[in-house]
């Protein structure tokens, strides 16, 4: 056991002195940052409302230059969620050029969000904050009150979290339609009749995607094998992290090795599961997966059937454009297939644009050589129908026959009655979207 040092007061002062000298050196090296100036003009709009005169004062800041801060929950190199948001940020930079100072901070845990966002506002002069993780919502709730002049955009959060906050908007690119189509392809492709899903968390968003995938898989399997057959969807335990490549790999291999699964869908922010599928393919075992949020085919050129991709660019462009125009608006943007597309009229299946980059939510090209032609055709037809919300996965209609049908959960309870259609509350709420389709087996 060594002797712990116990310095005297003078020794301590020397320590402090060293620190002070280091501080002075840093100070000397530091050059002052240019002071920021904000010019604000106030426009008063007077409206005649019946007998009363309502005066609304709108404060408009001419946005010569705007500082925006993107807060990312993962690293931008994850090739998934954060990568896609960062691509959206880059799109915004390319549109608005030097009028936009588009800062970002990556790998911000939910616990650190409040701190980082405040810093971006107080220290970096951010006037608009894009908080790109559901878990940031408590930070936004608190900070939106504290900084009423700053616009906060929360990605994925239900707008009910922010109803009393006029400077908070919500946006999301919703993937359940794409997951349904992925499931359709998976069900048509599987040789074992067993497909898998690896979820990050079992929150309503992911449960919705799991059910959409399982429903699609059922329809794809019926299309190829006859209408009385069904596929089993093995649902792996939640990873409890959005970014969890190690756990995702173990989970995916478990599904393949122990449950004979040959198509794996997932909600995790990296390309781990496609690359696991690719590894099996290279060893001669046909295992398939999907691109998630961004095109992952470079990590798995043989194993990707299709996927669900998001282009956040048009959404960011829209939100910022309203700010530049001096007319920001509180709204809930919930982009689905068709939204943000220049032309959203559906086309015949043969002319389908499935596989093209369009809108905010789209699919990468289907690996047609590996998928039965009937399934490709149906996927294209339904994709086109989805643009106009004519076909809705969570509805009581069979897309193959067009007949009404019932959808039941694992307890046998009817979740979608014949001819019914789930609404926003049923899709969103954790009191509603907490069931699993009756072909799902939870591990």
């Amino acid at each position: 056991m060594s002797t712990p040092p116990s310095p005297s007061r003078r020794a301590f002062l020397q320590i402090l002195g060293s620190a002070a000298i280091a501080g002075v050196l840093g100070y000397a090296a530091g050059s002052s940052l240019a002071p920021r100036k904000t010019v604000t003009t106030t426009t008063t709009v007077t409206q005649q409302a019946g007998a009363e005169t309502v005066t609304t004062t709108v404060t408009k800041t001419p946005a010569a230059k705007l500082t925006a801060a993107w807060i990312y929950v993962g690293p931008i190199g994850d090739a998934g969620w954060t990568y896609a948001h960062n691509a959206g940020r880059e799109h915004a930079t390319s549109v608005f050029g030097d009028k936009l100072d588009a800062k970002y901070v990556e790998s911000v845990p939910e616990t650190g969000a409040k701190q980082v966002i405040q810093q971006m506002i107080e220290d970096q002069g951010a006037k608009v904050v894009f908080a790109t993780s559901f878990g940031y919502y408590t930070a936004i709730q608190e900070l939106a009150k504290k900084y009423p002049d700053v616009w906060f955009w929360h990605c994925s959060g239900p707008y009910e979290f922010f109803t009393d906050l006029p400077n908070v908007g919500t946006y999301f690119a919703e993937l359940y339609q794409a997951y349904y189509l992925n499931g359709l392809i998976a069900g048509a492709v599987t040789q074992t009749g067993k497909v898998g899903y690896v979820p990050a968390f079992l929150i309503p968003e992911v449960v919705r995607h799991i059910n959409a995938f399982a429903l699609g898989a059922r329809d794809g399997y019926r299309l190829v094998h006859g209408k009385d057959k069904d596929v089993t969807v093995y649902l792996a335990p939640e990873l409890k992290a959005w970014f969890a490549p190690d756990k995702a790999e173990i989970s995916a291999r478990n599904l393949v090795d122990n449950y004979d699964v040959d198509v794996i869908a997932f909600t995790e922010d990296t390309y781990t599961i496609p690359s696991v599928a690719e590894d099996y393919q290279s060893k001669g075992r046909k295992v398939w997966s999907f691109s998630h949020y961004s095109d992952m085919s470079r990590f798995a050129p043989n194993a990707i059937l299709t996927g669900q991709l998001v282009n956040w660019g048009p959404i960011y462009e829209y939100i910022l454009a309203r700010l530049y125009a001096g007319d920001p608006r509180k709204e809930d943007i919930w982009a689905r297939i068709g939204d943000f597309m220049p032309i959203r009229w559906r086309k015949p299946a043969e002319q389908s644009t499935l596989g093209k980059v369009e809108g905010a939510v789209y699919l990468p090209p289907i690996k047609e050589e590996a998928v039965p032609a009937a399934a490709v055709k149906l996927a294209k037809k339904l994709y086109e129908d989805m643009k106009e919300l004519i076909f809705e996965p969570f509805s009581g209609y069979d897309p193959i026959t067009g007949e009404p049908r019932e959808i039941r959960d694992t307890d046998g309870e009817v979740r979608i009655p014949k001819g019914g259609r789930l609404g926003r509350h049923e899709l969103w709420s954790d009191e509603e979207m907490n069931w699993f389709l009756d072909n799902i087996e939870k591990l």
Partner: protein, 348 residues
């Protein structure tokens, strides 16, 4: 214990030399990775410049230093007696859980002014109890405290995760694993933090310098054998020292929920290893309370500027961890260097 002038020189020389080497190594790494060294210095010093909004930044730096500062103060007490408490992280986590329990579930039923004191007591007691286990095992059975304190850190991680996931999860959180937010009266700012720091640092300083416990503790630290001959109870001193050490680490946990996050989530989201960073702060400050406070404030500055380093320089989080690691390396290697310098001084 007064040091001879040559020894004081040895301390200064050793610390300056090893810190300089660490900073040079860090600068070299930044440089070879294509980052600007002056840019790094500028961003770090931007904590103090320009003067606009300075008070916000200073209080932010201060609040960010608390989760390291309290455990580091506690570690002084354990390390001074040669009790190698590596468990500040775990003690911090259980303190955090206890403070959350008061701040979320009890705050409604308590009078407003008593919420913070109740949180302080709960966090301190939880951290102290967590530290008492290894202390008792050591004095009863001679179990190596390095192993027990370290392993209890992992137990604490799972305990916090269990509580937040299965006991305290916010029913309105859409399935997200987090507790409801702490009550308004259970939040601390820089002012409350400052009061706690002064109290804690004062307690440690006074205890070490003016109390019998402090005296006995230092004797054990410098010579356990001499302490035994002098009739000092190793068991009593160890237990008391660890209660204080763990309790202060527990306060660090409270400062995380009450000062930074305002809610409890899973352990790995709550702490990037504050308890371990506390070890760095304790050694950088050479186990002197005021110097440890200064070292913690410096580490708080690095934590606080981290996101600005990212936003303006694209410097990843890994570099901050690397920087902290180099500082610990410098602090520890300086004690070896100091010893050699002292020996050289004595011979010469």
């Amino acid at each position: 214990m007064r040091l001879k002038p040559s020894d004081r020189l040895a301390t200064t020389l050793a610390l300056t030399a090893s810190l300089s080497v660490a900073l040079l190594v860090f600068a070299a790494i930044l440089g070879t990775h294509g980052y600007s060294v002056t840019g790094f210095a500028r961003v770090v010093s931007s904590g103090f410049w320009p003067p606009e909004n300075l008070s916000w930044r200073l209080s932010s730096i201060f609040i960010n230093s608390l989760p390291v500062l309290f455990p580091a103060l506690g570690l002084i007490v354990a390390f001074r007696m040669g009790f190698w408490n590596i468990g500040a992280e775990g003690q911090l986590l259980v303190g955090m859980a206890a403070a959350t329990w008061v701040g979320v579930f009890l705050a409604d039923r308590l009078p407003g002014a008593s919420v913070l004191p109740a949180m302080v007591v709960a966090a301190f007691v939880a951290g102290a109890l967590w530290a008492a286990g290894p202390a008792l095992l050591r004095v009863w059975l001679g179990v190596n405290e390095v192993l027990t304190t370290l392993m209890l850190n992992y137990v604490a991680v799972h305990l916090v995760n269990y509580l937040v996931e299965y006991r305290w999860k916010d029913p309105r959180g859409f399935g997200f694993i987090r507790t409801p937010p702490l009550h308004e009266s259970a939040r601390i700012g820089a002012a409350e933090g400052a009061v706690l720091v002064v109290l804690a640092a004062g307690l440690v300083y006074f205890m070490l310098r003016y109390t019998q416990l402090g005296f006995e503790l230092r004797i054990i630290g410098s010579s356990p054998k001499a302490a035994r001959y002098a009739g000092i109870s190793y068991a009593k001193v160890t237990l008391l020292a660890m209660l204080i050490s763990g309790g202060l680490a527990g306060l660090g946990g409270m400062s995380v929920v009450a000062g930074l996050t305002g809610e409890l989530m899973e352990a790995q989201r709550m702490s990037p290893g504050y308890g371990y960073t506390g070890i760095i702060a304790a050694w950088l400050g050479r186990l002197h309370p005021a110097a440890v406070v200064a070292a913690s404030l410096f580490l708080g500055l690095i934590y606080e500027r981290q996101s600005v380093l990212q936003a303006t320089m694209r410097l990843g989080v890994g570099y901050t961890m690397l920087f902290n690691g180099l500082l610990l390396f410098a602090a520890i290697s300086s004690t070896y260097l100091e010893k050699r310098l002292r020996e050289a001084g004595r011979l010469g």
